[in-house]
Amino acid sequence: MSDFATMKQATAPRDGALLWKSIERRLFSPGILILPLAIFLLFFFFIPAIRLMTFSVMTQNAQGVIGAPFTLAHYIRFFEVDLYQKVLWSTIRISLITSFLAAILAYPVATVLVRGNIALTRIITLIVIAPLAVSVVVRAYGWQLILGNGPTGLLNYVLMNLGIIESPLAILFSDSAVVIGSLHIFFPMMVLPLSSALGKIDPNIQQAARTLGAPAWKVFVRVTLPLSLPGLLAGFTLVFSLASASYVIPALIGGPGSQMLGNMVEQQVLAVYDWPFGATIATILVLIVILINAISMKLLGGRRIKANAS
C-alpha cells in the first residue's frame, strides 16, 4: 500500500500535465473549433430556412395564421400558372447566360493572372476584386446611368457621338441589362476558382502538347480545359447560384419581363402577404441551385482523376 502511495506521489505532477494536455487537445479539436459557427448557423440559418420550407406545404387561413392542413397546392399553382413558369425560365436563362459569358470572359483573365508578371497580376486582381467593395445597390444605379435608354445614357451618348449607332439602344430594363449587371457583380466568383485551377497546371504540360503538334486551340481543348475543369465547374456553380438568387439587379435594371424568382418571393411576402406561396418559390429556387451543384459534382466525379498529378 505504501508502495502504491509513493508511486502515486511520484507520478502526480505528470498526471497534471497529462490532464492539461488532454483538455487542450479536446479544446482545440475540430468539433469544438467549429461549434460557435455551428450554433450560429443552426439558429439563424437552418431553423429559419427549414421553417420557411415547411410553410410551402402549409395553409394560411383568413387571419393570416399558417398551419395545417398540409398541402401541395402551392407547388401545383406554381407549375400551372404561366406567369410563374415564365419567371422560372427567365431566371434559369439569365443565370445560365451570365455563367457562360463569365466563363468565356474569365479564361483569358485567369490565364493572365496565372502566367503574367507580378505587377500585371496585382493590377488585374485589383480590377477584378474591386467591384466587391461597392454595394450592389450603388453598382446597379451606376449601371442605370451607363445603360440609360435615352440619348443621354452614357453608353448611348458615346456610341452616338462616335457615329457607331444612329438612334439610342434600349438596353436598360431588359434581360441584357440584368446579364450585364450580374456579370459585373459575379465575375470574381468565376475568375478566382478558375485562376486557382489554371495555376495548378504545369506549363510544361501545355508546352509538351505544343511540341507534339497541337496548335494553340487544340492545346486548350485537349489539355487546359480538362485540367482546369474543377475550377471552371466551381466558378460556374457559384455564379449560377448567386445570379439565380439575384434580387437587387433585376429589380433596379431589369424590365418587367426580366423579373426573377427572387423578385417574386419579395412580391408574395411583402406585397401579397402570401407567405406559403413565397416560401414555395424560395424552395424551388433552392432546389434549382442544389440541382446545379449536383450536376457539377457528378461531372467532376466522372473524371478519372480529381487533382492533376504532377
Binding site: N204, I205, Q207, R210, T211, L212, A214
Partner: protein, 367 residues
C-alpha cells in the same frame, strides 16, 4: 528515321530589361549525334534548347534543321520530340492516350495509331502499362512514357531538358545508358541540356559548355576534358589546379614557364596560345604525392613542395587537399589501390613532394 543536321547561327535571346540570356551562339550538331549543352544554372542552355524547340522566340539568329531555316516555324509544325525534367505527361490521359496524342494531332488513323503506340511502348518496355494513368507510375516509368510519346511521332530531332534530373542516382545512370543506346539505334539527332558533367560525358558525342549566355567551348567529351579552352571550362568539367604563369622560353611547341607561386613548369604543347601571360592547368589525378625526404631536396620542373591539409577517403580515390609554400591551394587525386599497396599514404600535416608529367600541363590563353 532519317537523321538531320541541326545548326545554330548567331542565336541570341535578350529578355526585356534583363541580362542577355543567350549571346551569339553558333554551333552544329551532326546528324545522328548527341550534343550536350552543359553549364551552371542561368547560363542560357535551357533558353537555347527552348529556342530550338520553338517555345521561345530568338531575338536574332537562325536555327537551321536539315538545311532548312526553321526559326519562324511555329512549335507544332517543327516535329520535335521533347522530354521535360518533370516528364510533363498529360495527367488526365492514360499512358496509351499520352503516347497517341502526337499521332492524333498528325491525323494518323485509329488502327495505325494503336499499332504505333504499341510499338512505341514496346520500345521502352512498358507494353503492359497502356491503360494506367501517369500518377500510377514511378518516376522512371513516367520518363519512359514521355520518351515513347516523343519518339512515336518520328521526330526530326530529340530535345532533352534535364530529363533525368528528378530521378535518383542509380535509375538516372541506367536511363542515361538506355536513352543513349536507343538514340544510337534510331540514329536520332539529339540535343540535351544538363548541369551534370557526368551525364554530359556519359551520353554526349559533343559537349558545348555555356557560361553567362556565351558558348565557351564545343568539343568531343575527351577533348573538352583534356584540352579545355578557357579557365571556366577547366574548372567546370572535372577539377583543376590553376597556375598563373609567365612563359620564360619557347622551343617549338614546347615551353618553359614560371608560375607566380614559384613553381617552374614545362609544357610540351602550347597549342595556339599566344602571349607570355598564361594559365596552366593540371588535373588532380595527374599529380603524384610522395613523402619529402629532406627540406633541402631539389625540385625540378613540374614539382612542388606542399603541406597536406586534409586527406579525404572517397572509396577508390583519395583526395589530398594541399597548400604550397606561398599559400596557394592544390588538389591531388590518387587511387586508393596505388597509395595503399607499396606506397606510403601521407597524412594531414605531412610535408610532401608533388610531381607531374610535363604532358599533364595544359596551357590556356588569358584573354
Amino acid at each position: 528515321m532519317k537523321s538531320v543536321e541541326v545548326r545554330l547561327e548567331k542565336l541570341t535571346k535578350h529578355y526585356l530589361g534583363q541580362v542577355i540570356a543567350v549571346d551569339n551562339v553558333s554551333l552544329t550538331v551532326k546528324a545522328g549525334e548527341i550534343l550536350a549543352l552543359l553549364g551552371p544554372s542561368g547560363c542560357g542552355k535551357t533558353t537555347c534548347l527552348r529556342m530550338i524547340a520553338g517555345l521561345v522566340d530568338p531575338t536574332s539568329g537562325e536555327i537551321v534543321v536539315g538545311g532548312k531555316p526553321t526559326t519562324h516555324t511555329p512549335v507544332h509544325r517543327r516535329n520535335v520530340g521533347m522530354l521535360f525534367q518533370n516528364y510533363a505527361l498529360f495527367p488526365h490521359m492514360t499512358v496509351a492516350e499520352n503516347v497517341a496524342f502526337g499521332l492524333e494531332m498528325r491525323g494518323v488513323g485509329k488502327a495505325a495509331r494503336e499499332k504505333r503506340v504499341r510499338d512505341a511502348l514496346d520500345l521502352v518496355q512498358l507494353n503492359t502499362f497502356g491503360d494506367r494513368l501517369p500518377a500510377q507510375l514511378s518516376g522512371g516509368q513516367q520518363q519512359r512514357v514521355a520518351l515513347a510519346r516523343a519518339l512515336v511521332i518520328e521526330p526530326s530531332m530529340l530535345l532533352l531538358d534535364e530529363p533525368l534530373g528528378a530521378l535518383d542516382k542509380g535509375l538516372r545512370e541506367s536511363m542515361q545508358v538506355e536513352i543513349r543506346s536507343l538514340q544510337q539505334r534510331l540514329g536520332l539527332t539529339t540535343i540535351m541540356v544538363t548541369h551534370d558533367q557526368d551525364e554530359a560525358l556519359t551520353m554526349a558525342d559533343q559537349i558545348a559548355v555555356m557560361h553567362q549566355g556565351n558558348l565557351e567551348q564545343i568539343a568531343p567529351a575527351g577533348e573538352i576534358y583534356r584540352k579545355p579552352k578557357t579557365r571556366f571550362v577547366a574548372g567546370f568539367i572535372g577539377a583543376s589546379n590553376f597556375f598563373e604563369a609567365t612563359v620564360t622560353a619557347r622551343n617549338g611547341h614546347a615551353a618553359q614557364l614560371a608560375a607566380a607561386s614559384g613553381v617552374s613548369l614545362q609544357a610540351e604543347d602550347m597549342g595556339s596560345v599566344q602571349g607570355d601571360k598564361v594559365i596552366v592547368t593540371v588535373r588532380p589525378e595527374a599529380v603524384t604525392v610522395a613523402p619529402l625526404v629532406g627540406e633541402g631536396q631539389t625540385t625540378g620542373a613540374n614539382m612542388a613542395v606542399a603541406t597536406v591539409e586534409q586527406v579525404v577517403y572517397r572509396g577508390f580515390m583519395l583526395h589530398y587537399y594541399l597548400r604550397l609554400a606561398n599559400g596557394e591551394p592544390m588538389v591531388a587525386y590518387r587511387q586508393t589501390q596505388t597509395e595503399g599497396f607499396g606506397n606510403v599514404v601521407s597524412a594531414a600535416g605531412d610535408r610532401v613532394l608533388l610531381s607531374w608529367a610535363s604532358d599533364a600541363n595544359h596551357v590556356i590563353q588569358i584573354n
